[in-house]
């Protein structure tokens, strides 16, 4: 697929084209926060930002989502029988999504769509109806480390198209049939555009200087890594607030709860967090992860040891750095992973 380009002055036209078939969402400034916001033709797109505060995972896996409902009346012959909620009525497009967040969707596909017999239909419905137009990072933030976790500032996997900000114009690289179709009207990029994009990619990659190493974590068996002495201190500052799990674009744990209001009964799922002791608490009172150490270890073992075993090598991290920048006690995921990777006994 050939690279395209668009002058920034013509962006409204592109937005108009995309909005013909999709509800379009894009990062927008809200005070000091960067949030995902609905954009309409005529709106000005924000291109100067590092990333949104919250990842876009809520588009496919909402913080609270109604799964089904029922008539809460045992006497009614139709009562007490669950009915699934309908899917999305139309298509969506996430414009200017960062490559790391798109990669996170690819990781979560392996979780939610792992088993054909038990595919998470709520994830799949929204996933299949969501188009992703990425915006490459030209200026990674100090907590970014995507280049050492199988991702990168210009990473293309999972995107339908990648935009690269080249000053007065954008390079538009279609990466799927959908991306190609939606950008068909744009003019072909020149060689200088493609070269400028490549130069920006190299510069952005070089700007990321702190990363993680995982070769020892990978080589050890589960119990060896689980018993790594680093876990005796990593948990100490943690207050089990769960902030990291909510900000993380690949954290996918959830709870299911029922609610009734008169005759209307509903079953919801909500984001949950492995940092909570209730998460694994048995009704008997027994708790297999009863201590803070157990829970902190679970989060990092899950992402960097368990997920690769289950998901053909995919780790549960894309290097977006949100957990590090949002942690109230300054736990840096890079330090944690590098500690987990240290030689044991030294």
């Amino acid at each position: 697929m050939a690279d395209k380009r668009i002058n920034k002055a013509e962006l409204p036209k592109l937005l108009e084209r995309l909005a013909q078939e999709h509800e379009v969402f894009a990062p927008a400034r809200d005070g000091s926060a960067m949030v995902w916001s609905r954009v309409e033709p005529g709106d000005v797109l924000e291109l100067e930002f590092t990333n949104t505060d919250l990842s876009p995972k809520g588009f496919l896996f909402p913080q609270t989502e109604r799964l089904m409902h029922f008539k809460n009346d045992p006497e009614d012959p139709e009562g007490m029988i669950m009915e699934a909620e309908p899917g999305l009525p139309g298509k969506r497009l996430l414009l200017n999504i960062r490559p790391c967040d798109a990669k996170a969707f690819k990781v979560l596909d392996k979780v939610f769509e792992r088993d054909e017999e038990a595919t998470d239909v709520y994830w799949k419905d929204k996933r299949d109806k969501t188009v992703l137009f990425g915006l490459a990072c030209k200026d990674p933030c100090p907590t970014c480390f995507c280049t050492t976790v199988n991702c990168g500032p210009h990473f293309e996997e999972g995107l339908d198209a990648l935009l690269v900000d080249l000053g007065d114009r954008l390079l538009v690289r279609p990466l799927s049939e959908t991306g190609e179709r939606l950008t068909a009207d744009l003019e072909e990029a020149g060689q200088e555009d493609t070269e400028a994009a490549t130069a920006q990619k190299e510069e952005a990659e070089a700007a990321i200087t702190r990363g993680v190493s995982m070769e020892n974590i990978e080589a050890r068996n589960v119990l060896e890594e689980y018993e790594h002495p680093c876990f005796d201190r990593i948990f100490e500052p943690c207050i089990n607030c769960g902030t990291c799990t909510y900000y993380c674009p690949t954290c996918h744990c959830f709870d299911i709860q029922d609610e009734t209001q008169g005759e209307l009964g509903k079953r919801y799922r909500t984001w949950d967090t492995c940092m909570s002791w209730l998460f694994t608490h048995h009704t008997s009172g027994h708790n297999p992860r009863g201590t803070k150490k157990d829970r902190v270890r679970q989060r990092f073992m899950h992402k960097f040891k368990y997920m690769p075993i289950k998901l053909e090598g995919s780790i549960g991290c894309v290097g977006c750095g949100r957990c590090t920048s949002k942690c109230p006690v300054n736990i840096d995921v890079r330090s944690v992973v590098n500690s987990m990777n240290e030689q044991i006994g030294e």
Binding site: M80, I81, T119, V121, T283, M307
Partner: protein, 279 residues
């Protein structure tokens, strides 16, 4: 595409108080729709989420065997929100069942082998299913000797008494039913499951053991089997952990990289020896 979160509607066909302390009830459920009954294709060792609209779901081992027909049997301990509500429900009430979930006992791999079953307390449920399945005329000849040891605190805490009596009468299964302390009129075994297992001293030769019971029973049964020469890959156990989705996504029931709901609940002792003890 099938929605794995949507329970099949079922009707409670029968409820029975299962133990003298009234903490357990046995429910027989029938599907409202024929096609759901057909879709619910299960084997012993699997479980289901019992879904009580308005209260939630609880993962419970299936106590019936598919050889018994289309109804499902569950014996439920009154413990939390969902199971307490279940205990107040009556015959004819509508609820839901989601499953079958998890992997069954490896019945195929067990063919041609002697089977030793050790059960304690109400963990006997999926082993009842297994016994009924093994003793069915279609299956019995595929297996060697069958030994069944089952213990409860008192005679009144034994589940499925009629069925136990039936097995005790059969010549093709060695049944050892035991209670903790002797009581008037009791003519079967007395002692904890590990003690009885020591007396029986099951041979590990060409054999598989299925063990299900409270942690304390498993802790003291293990040395007995070790002494008899059993190895970890011959010992099959069933775990439980807190669950929600039942399909390996919601993230809470894992033991190391494996989800009890999806990759288990059945694991060999050898597998568990290589995993954190987070169960």
């Amino acid at each position: 595409m099938k929605n794995p979160y949507l329970p099949y509607p079922v009707r409670i066909r029968k409820v029975e108080i299962a133990t003298e302390d009234r903490s357990l009830r046995t429910f027989e459920l029938e599907f409202l729709n024929r096609e759901d009954a057909e879709a619910f294709d299960y084997l012993p060792g699997q479980f289901a989420e019992l879904s009580v609209p308005g209260y939630g779901e609880a993962p419970i081992g299936i106590a019936s065997s598919p050889t018994e027909g289309e109804h499902l049997t569950f014996t439920v301990s009154k413990a939390g929100l969902v199971t307490s509500k279940l205990h107040s429900m009556k015959e004819g009430d509508i609820m839901g069942v989601r499953g079958p979930l998890g992997k069954p006992y490896p019945l195929k791999d067990m063919e041609g082998k002697n089977i030793v079953i050790l059960a304690g307390g109400y963990a006997v449920t999926t082993l009842r299913s297994t016994m009924v399945w093994l003793l069915h005329p279609d299956n019995r000849d595929s297996y060697g000797e069958i030994t069944f040891v089952y213990g409860a605190r008192t005679p009144g805490m034994l589940l499925y008494k009629d069925t136990l009596e039936e097995w005790d009468q059969r010549s093709d299964v060695n049944t050892y039913i035991t209670i903790d302390n002797h009581v008037e009129g009791w003519d079967k075994y007395v002692g904890f499951v590990p003690q009885i297992a020591e007396e029986v001293a099951p041979s590990p030769e060409n054999a598989v053991a299925l063990i299900c019971g409270p942690p304390i029973m498993i802790k003291f049964t293990q040395p007995v089997l070790d002494k008899c020469g059993w190895t970890g890959d011959q010992i099959i156990m069933s775990l439980e952990n807190r669950m929600k989705c039942g399909i390996g996504i919601c993230g809470r029931c894992n033991v190391g990289p494996y989800y009890v709901c999806k990759d288990g609940p059945v694991f060999t002792k050898a597998q568990l020896d290589e995993l954190p003890k987070e169960y």
